[in-house]
């Protein structure tokens, strides 16, 4: 499409909203991978699982956001259990855990994917709510309302998690556990229990993020593959474990993707996240706000 300033402004606004949505889907990974160093490649698959959970509750007339909140505790315990399993089988054994731990999460992602295909089929599914169809008029620009909702929830989610991690004892302990387990033990906290809680939070957030996903776009079971690129791009670009960095990095990705979408076409868009990811890994593996 030909270049014009109006289109560029529209792309940037759209990208800003999209970016906040990407922050919501990535923030769980930012905790699991960024703070805990767990190679959680199955994070995007869990996200899609969350979307399907919301879809399922939607069949009984539950609003997507309410469904996301209802599923959050379920996902918290799912995540805590998963971390326990990962700890007992890999972290405790140490050494060769690298290859096997990665393979474990990669295999898990495909198991979730196939189970979703078996349960729901390969067709796209979407959520229903009053605010999904309409759009917000802002002068000349029309902004889809579903993106505004995702934007708001994403901001609240990021702010809440940032506050939790820096204000509460458990939150601070989660931040500390990735840096120095021995010191944490001296402070009277059990590192494994702390990590279990952190992983539970990282997974619990996915229920709400999954609700955002199905509000923004219809989902299908293999969608997790493209979100591997988006979520890891955001977390790596942010710099491991930086919550506010996650928001900034997600907005950069959202704007970049939206500009490519507008001026080069949809067929190039999937490469943006992966290209950016590769570029960051090659030139600045520490990310923007790396520790």
């Amino acid at each position: 499409m030909a270049f014009s300033v109006d289109l560029l402004i529209e792309a940037v606004i759209f990208g800003l909203l999209l970016g906040c949505f990407y922050a919501a889907v990535s923030i769980g990974l930012s905790v699991a991978f960024g703070l805990l160093d767990v190679p959680h490649v199955a994070h995007p698959a869990m996200l899609i699982l969350g979307s399907y959970g919301v879809y399922l509750l939607g069949q009984y007339g539950v609003d997507p956001i309410v469904a996301g909140l209802l599923l959050t505790p379920v996902f918290f315990f799912l995540g805590a259990g998963l971390y326990r399993m990962y700890y007992e089988t890999f972290e405790k054994r140490g050494q060769s855990a690298a290859v096997n731990g990665l393979a474990f999460f990669f295999g898990l992602a495909f198991i979730i994917e196939v189970l979703l295909v078996v349960a729901f089929g390969v067709d796209q599914r979407s959520a229903e709510a009053g605010y999904i169809g309409g759009s917000l008029k802002l002068g000349e620009f029309r902004i889809p309302f579903r993106l505004v909702v995702a934007f708001g929830v994403a901001l609240v989610l990021t702010a809440a998690l940032t506050a939790y991690l820096s204000r509460t004892f458990t939150g601070r302990a989660i931040k500390a556990v990735g840096q120095d387990e021995a010191a944490l033990r001296l402070m009277g906290a059990d590192p494994v229990r702390i990590k279990q809680i952190a992983f539970g939070i990282a997974t619990g957030v996915n229920a709400l993020a999954g609700a955002m996903l199905i509000i923004v776009t219809p989902v299908e079971p293999t969608m997790d593959r493209i979100y591997i690129g988006r979520t890891f791009c955001v977390v790596v670009l942010a710099g491991l474990g930086s919550m506010s960095g996650t928001l900034v990095a997600a907005i950069i990705l959202g704007v970049a993707e939206s500009i490519v979408l507008m001026f080069l076409g949809a067929s190039w868009a999937p490469a943006v996240a992966f290209g950016l990811l590769l570029a960051v890994l090659a030139f600045r593996p520490k990310g923007l706000f790396g520790r």
Partner: protein, 310 residues
């Protein structure tokens, strides 16, 4: 010596088999299992020996397939030229991945290889000449002398490729090269300090592994007589190529062979009798069960059993 006679024996035996009046379906299914052997063996050179987990197998397989297609479309070159060109291009891609590994270890390396899959896929989708997003229908050449049909020839070519891949893996394992890779897998810094040329070894391992993966993908367009980007760059290749060596055992070249035969055969049976979705489930479940319960694979279980029965 014994290894080489067995190899030659297999190639001759396979040649006799393709001349026999066995049903074409046998070769169609056999091709998939042989391809799995090449993929698993090639993956293990980098993943098993050096400990660098490559999630980007589809990037190499797809690149190989499309490189072969390019040769077919532009100069209508014969299969052997297609395979060699595919190996060359994928080998170059492997070299690039090797350069990435200078700075990236562990999961960062793996995620970078996933990125490669989607970048190559996007390039192909936007390349009209190669069929773009919709793909291309191809007709197999009818002539395949001295073979009775093109699929039979592809089967035999895959047998040769599997033998070559296994011979390379076996050679690397017992050589200076393989010992260097194992050293850098256990501790890259220690290996570097001990004078192991880690960068050169990693570049070589990536190039060899990439070239073999690409060569295994090269016959795909002719085998399917159809090619399109989404199935060529499907991440299912990645999880299979990783599951087979882990299930078989990564420490010995025979592990990927055992894992590939076992898993690919189960997959073929499940695909035919139940559904193609469930065969991915089989791969995933077996992979997770093995990494938890038997991280050294079947080879490891066998060694344990032998040690305890002594």
């Amino acid at each position: 010596m014994r290894f080489w006679s067995i190899c030659a024996g297999f190639i001759v035996l396979a040649f006799g088999l393709v001349q026999s009046p066995v049903n074409d379906y046998f070769f169609f299914a056999g091709f998939v299992i042989l391809q799995a052997i090449v993929l698993a063996t090639a993956w293990n050179i980098l993943g098993g020996y050096a400990g660098y987990v490559n999630f980007g197998v589809p990037a190499f397989v797809g690149t190989g397939a499309y490189a072969a297609l390019l040769v077919h479309l532009s100069i209508s070159g014969p299969l052997i030229v297609q395979i060699l060109f595919a190996a060359l291009v994928s080998g170059a891609l492997g070299f690039l991945v090797g350069l990435i590994s200078v700075r990236l270890r562990g999961i960062f390396f793996s995620i970078a290889t996933v990125a490669l899959v989607f970048i190559m896929e996007t390039l192909v989708i936007n390349w009209r000449y190669l069929g773009g997003a919709t793909g291309l229908q191809l007709t197999r050449p009818t002539e395949a002398w001295p073979f009775d049909g093109y699929v039979r020839m592809l089967f035999w070519v895959m047998v040769v490729m599997a033998v070559i891949a296994l011979a390379i893996a076996r050679y690397i394992q017992d050589s200076h090269f393989g010992r260097g890779l194992r050293a850098l897998r256990d501790s890259e810094d220690a290996a570097e300090c001990a004078g192991v040329p880690t960068l050169r070894l990693k570049l070589m391992a990536c190039t060899v592994s990439g070239a073999l993966l690409g060569a295994a993908g090269a016959p795909m367009p002719m085998y399917m007589s159809y090619i399109e980007p989404y199935s060529s760059f499907n991440l299912v290749y990645a999880v299979s190529a990783l599951a087979m060596p882990i299930i078989g055992g990564m420490s010995h070249w025979i592990g990927p062979l055992v894992g590939a035969i076992l898993l690919a055969t189960i997959q073929q049976i499940v695909t035919v009798t139940i559904s193609s979705e469930l065969n991915v489930l089989v791969v995933g479940v077996l992979l997770v069960v093995f990494v938890i319960a038997a991280p050294d694979g079947i080879v490891g279980l066998y060694r344990k059993w032998k040690a305890s029965s002594k």
